[in-house]
Symmetry: C2
Subunit: 722 residues, 2 copies
């Protein structure tokens, strides 16, 4: 079932290596490495180094000793890849508990223990490196990576890969790295059975699923393992393997087809990635023969407990359940007069004995709204449903909140739910798959948007940011991304969309990272030869093409935060009125005089009141509201003057012309890169740019024509509007 890969791809499965090409391992593979640590995860580290050495002539000695692998304790596997090799070493990778360390490593560890500052993790009290953390240093000509756990060692190895030759250059003091968020998860909206409307992968733009094909688990799970490796290299440690919309076939993954989930878990475990499962809240009714799915019913509780016990028997490190309940037609506790806390706690109770968590999605709203009723506001719904429940959820419930109050539009304010539930673990849900941002046919590097969300401070500059809330060491629920990967040979359809997958993981690990710096890192890994050239042409061009591509997308699509001017159903391309008279709650209310949604407390739906000050005041105020969110919060006349002195209508025209021009510049910039990147990859991106340009022109012309017809205001610059 594997499609033909890019010509010349070194991978036997014809799959693009993404950010882990062999070349990225040359610095390690051409040197001498000592690995100290036992257990399967350290085994993964060993395999990585050994494979690199086999290719580039270096060597690796493994001394498998450590408390996390009793069987292999004290074993010395040394020298497999490099023959007789007693040292000295260029690289030492060691578990701190793996017995006496080489002198240089002991010196690094002692130095680290004398310091207390964490480098990019949250501040900590203890002196340990921490679960999943690692310390990296270069001292006396040896690069040292230390970790308390094998997972940390694996992440440390990929840190060295990222550093490349630099890892073996100048001395560097000990730096500790640990993830900001414990849970860094990708949700796959993959269906087991092909859905008649949504297909194999709901909102998937990268071919089929790497897990499922035509109603069954794939025979060949090679790509699942390769995916796990890519995820480990960017820091993701959890994957939900099926769509949050759980249909009939997927419901049975919990029971009859649990073996399929276990098989996936087996492939991901070597990379420190745990498996989670989206479940059907009505599963006891559908599968268990109970008379109800009422979360307070004893039979239901017993059913979930029994089923969950069997899950952990099959998958001891199972992560937990993901639930979309009482949302867009999915079953939930409301049918029994119960609330979301009742529902979530039911599953949490079943999972708690095993350390599992429930990701309970906050994406709950009335999708059968009457468009005539302007008092109902979908933006309010999640807060109205969940804020009153704060404090009622069990510790192992994580409320999974989309970043904006509507649905992954390119511009939304941050969801007020995130700041509304101090006694609830909250996870931030981002959409890596580009449902509303070009569907992996358009270049749209999402990190700047995500970074803005993560940096948003709901209580103003002095308060904590979203990243602090969701990644907090105790109460944080972590980050969840809806995956953009599929069985496409480039993993993500658009080769440049790999950067979004990579960056999601990196931001989940370190939310305050600079998006441009992560992109630079991704460029260096993905295109190691071209990016390594002195002239920097590829880096410069890719930054020009990608750094502000999300801003470009915003400019040529729905203006000023109004959102949802997309074709209904598939959500690709423009349809200004497409959702205007529908039950979906996504309106712009454009008339001949003006446009926008009045969400103020004074005259509108009152949504602004869901924010704490200062934002409740800023958004309420027509003059203080940021321009980019103006139409999200206010209905204004076309002549309304923005902060830059332009009018709303002229801003619409200007940004739409500008957005298309930017796409055209990016397209031409890409054309210049022929020869710097693999020919097949270049050709695919070139073709996609043709489509992006066509589509951007369509957006420009439809949006401009729509507003010209409505407003009657001509473009001040006299450009052609059809």
């Amino acid at each position: 079932m594997t499609r033909p890969g890019p010509p010349g791809s070194p991978d036997p499965y014809g799959v693009h290596p993404a950010w882990l090409p062999d070349e990225a391992f040359r610095p390690i593979g051409s040197r001498r490495t000592l690995l100290r640590g036992g257990g399967p995860l350290a085994g993964t580290v060993h395999e990585e180094v050994a494979r690199a050495c086999a290719r580039y002539g270096g060597s690796v000695r493994r001394q498998a000793a450590g408390p996390d692998d009793g069987a292999a304790n004290g074993r010395d596997d040394g020298g497999e890849a490099g023959g007789d090799d007693g040292g000295p070493y260029d690289l030492v990778l060691a578990l701190t508990a793996a017995g006496p360390l080489p002198a240089v490593a002991e010196a690094v560890l002692a130095g680290f223990r004398r310091r207390s500052a964490a480098d990019d993790g949250p501040a900590v009290e203890d002196e340990g490196i921490g679960e999943e953390g690692y310390v990296v240093a270069r001292r006396d000509g040896v690069t040292v990576v230390l970790a308390d756990s094998a997972a940390g060692l694996l992440y440390g190895l990929f840190h060295v890969v990222r550093l490349g030759e630099e890892a073996f250059g100048a001395e560097r003091p000990a730096e500790r790295h640990r993830p900001a968020a414990r849970l860094r998860m990708l949700d796959h909206w993959d269906n087991v059975a092909v859905h008649p409307v949504m297909g194999q992968v709901e909102r998937g733009y990268a071919g089929g699923s790497i897990f499922w094909c035509d109603g069954a688990l794939r025979d060949d799970l090679t790509r699942v393992a390769a995916y796990g490796r890519l995820l480990a290299a960017c820091g993701v440690n959890a994957v939900a393997v099926n769509n949050v919309n759980v249909h009939a076939a997927e419901t049975r993954l919990l029971t009859d087809h649990l073996g399929d989930v276990a098989a996936i878990a087996d492939r991901l475990r070597p990379y420190g990635v745990r498996v989670h499962l989206s479940v059907n809240f009505a599963a006891p009714l559908a599968l268990g023969g109970t008379a109800t799915a009422d979360p307070l019913d004893e039979d239901v509780r017993a059913w979930w407990a029994a089923v969950t016990t069997r899950v952990y028997e099959a998958i001891p490190d199972f992560g937990g359940y993901v639930v979309k309940a009482d949302s867009e037609g999915q079953p939930g506790p409301h049918a029994y007069g119960r609330d979301h806390a009742d529902g979530a706690n039911l599953l949490a109770g079943a999972l708690a004995p095993f350390g599992g968590v429930v990701h309970w999605r906050a994406f709950v709203y009335n999708h059968r709204q009457d468009w005539r009723d302007r008092s109902t506001d979908r933006a309010r719904a999640a807060y109205d449903h969940f804020a009153p429940l704060d404090g009622r959820f069990r510790d192992n419930v994580i409320l999974q909140v989309k970043h904006g109050p509507i649905d992954f539009q390119v511009r939304e304010p941050v969801s007020p739910v995130i700041a509304a539930m101090p006694r609830t673990r909250v996870a931030l849900e981002l959409q890596v798959t580009q449902e509303y941002t070009g569907q992996q046919r358009h270049v749209c590097y999402l990190a700047p948007m995500w970074s803005e969300v993560l940096g948003f401070r709901p209580w103003g500059p002095a308060g904590p940011g979203v990243a602090d809330i969701v990644a907090g060491d105790v109460a944080g629920g972590g980050l969840v991304g809806v995956s953009n990967a599929g069985d496409d040979p480039y993993w993500t359809g658009h080769p440049l969309a790999q950067a979004n997958l990579y960056t999601f993981g990196r931001l989940a690990w370190a939310p305050s990272s600079d998006p441009a710096a992560i992109l630079d890192e991704w460029i260096g890994l993905t295109f190691p030869l071209a990016a390594g050239r002195d002239d920097g042409r590829l880096r410069e061009a890719l930054h020009e093409i990608m750094d502000d591509s999300c801003g470009t997308y915003e400019r040529y699509t729905a203006p000023l935060g109004v959102g949802f001017m997309v074709r209904p159903g598939h959500h690709y391309g423009p349809d200004v009125d497409g959702y205007e008279y529908t039950p979906w709650g996504t309106y712009h209310f454009a008339d001949r005089d003006g446009v926008g949604v009045d969400r103020t407390r004074a005259t509108g739906t009152g949504f602004t009141g869901q924010y704490p000050p200062p934002w409740s005041e800023v958004y309420e105020s027509l003059t203080r509201c940021p321009d980019e969110l103006l139409l999200f919060f206010h209905h204004v006349p076309y002549g309304h003057v923005l902060h830059d002195g332009s009018t709303v209508i002229q801003h619409i025209y200007d940004t739409h012309f500008a957005g298309v021009e930017e796409v055209e510049r990016a397209r031409l910039r890409w054309a210049e890169l022929a020869g710097l990147v693999p020919a097949a990859l270049h050709a695919r991106v070139r073709e996609l740019f043709a489509e992006q340009l066509r589509c951007a022109e369509e957006w420009r012309d439809q949006v401009n024509a729509y507003f010209l017809r409505k407003s009657g205001v001509p473009d001040a610059q006299g450009r052609r509007i059809p």
Copy 2:
């Protein structure tokens, strides 16, 4: 696969009897009948009468004699149903060639031969009754039906059924009836394999297909025979058994699966209905291994000749091919630099030796139009493609033309193609399936619209009408309807939509019939008990509900002929801008000042010039153009004053409020009929009325809100517009 039928249905298959309930046969079945005529079709007549007699105690004697059944010649099957019965008879059904007739029949025949006027057929020179025709009279207390052919006898029998008791009342002079059009065909847009988007029946609103199920011919063809019987009873004599969009599975009906088509033909033949097949123009390439499908290529020609010969070997009375070529992505002659005449003549050549015809559809336009380009006009396309080809088509090519220039909207002008091709046989294509007229969830009796089309006189009052052109004895191509029947227990989803199927056949037979009279006939047949009551409540109510239901539908949907304000894709419900910025060529160009499409020669697309005078002048003129087509031909300001003194904008508001009120009245009227019609039928229509009302309100509110937002003109009556 048959669904549960209406409770209490007498049919063993649970299927509603439509316009042939047993009760309709009581007048015949309770009397003494003599049938004179041999052959299978006369056998059908005999079976009909015998079954009625078995139920109601009458008798039938058959004297099978006549030139069209050598085997049964001179045989006397008399008395099977009624025991010893040598006469006298209440009803004589006789073929004129069946030897010496009973005296009363001879007298009727002699009387008829002395007259020369045809009663409802076209004027004729000869003295014969004509193929498919019959003479009916009552003389000396005997009802007499005479025909030259067994098909005519079958139609005559159903005439007597329609007359009911009246057939056996007062004496009536001889009347001759013959069909105006030779070809009275229903096209089924049924797919053999379920299409991923369009399903089993494209634009079908009555369940699955009666022919096909999940990729294969149905095992049980009982309903096909029942369908043929219904068709014979309303005068249809041809059926195309598969969708004009011919996909892979359907392409093979021509060859590998020809047996399936033959099996259907076997079931329809006893009712005088011939089978036609929609074919893929590229079939030789797809199936035959030719290097091309070029219509001028010798191999291609030979392939079609050979294949067609095999078709006639399997189905000696096969009707011919239906072709959608170079239309909406279907293959056609353009790929080879050939024109439609080349393409059609290729198939005509293969069919000619066997007397078959090609229905070549004129529905050709650019479905990838740039909406920005206002000079391209889809309405022009069919004329521009086909008018220059007049005279180039072979005699057995029939150009099948949709009634309007766009696509079955509830209001369009008559297609100018119909008057543009005097040297071509033209068939009129009507859409019985309610794609754009409520999808068999709304009551919409289409006959008044069809009647208007058939009565339209392209050259003005003194010239011939559309009916004369398409039903002309020599050059006419007949009438084609896209069937609205499926495997629904009521055949048509909405039980009242049966009237459209019935009326299509009756209008194809006699285009000048009064739609209200046909409806009355349908009521009497379908609801014989209730309709027969003296108080006439049912008749009165159904006329109120149905007579002007098409006008009602027009009022609450797209105004003043502008059309296509439907949801893209499925075409149900409103979306005013749904097609406005698409490649489909269906626009309204509404802006803040006005609405409509300028198709004038003076300032628009010039489409008005495709009509002969006087219509070329009438449509061109803003003052003379009929209001109901105003926006089809002109772009006018919202304040434009209509002939009734109202403005365009106020007309939009008024008609939309009125349309909904009419639906509500009809709904209440229907509610009063509980007890007069079968309970299950009443309940289904009641449920459908709830949906119709909801949808009509949606239309009203969306259209009114859209135009209020655009125009800013308030409703003069101050009604609420959301």
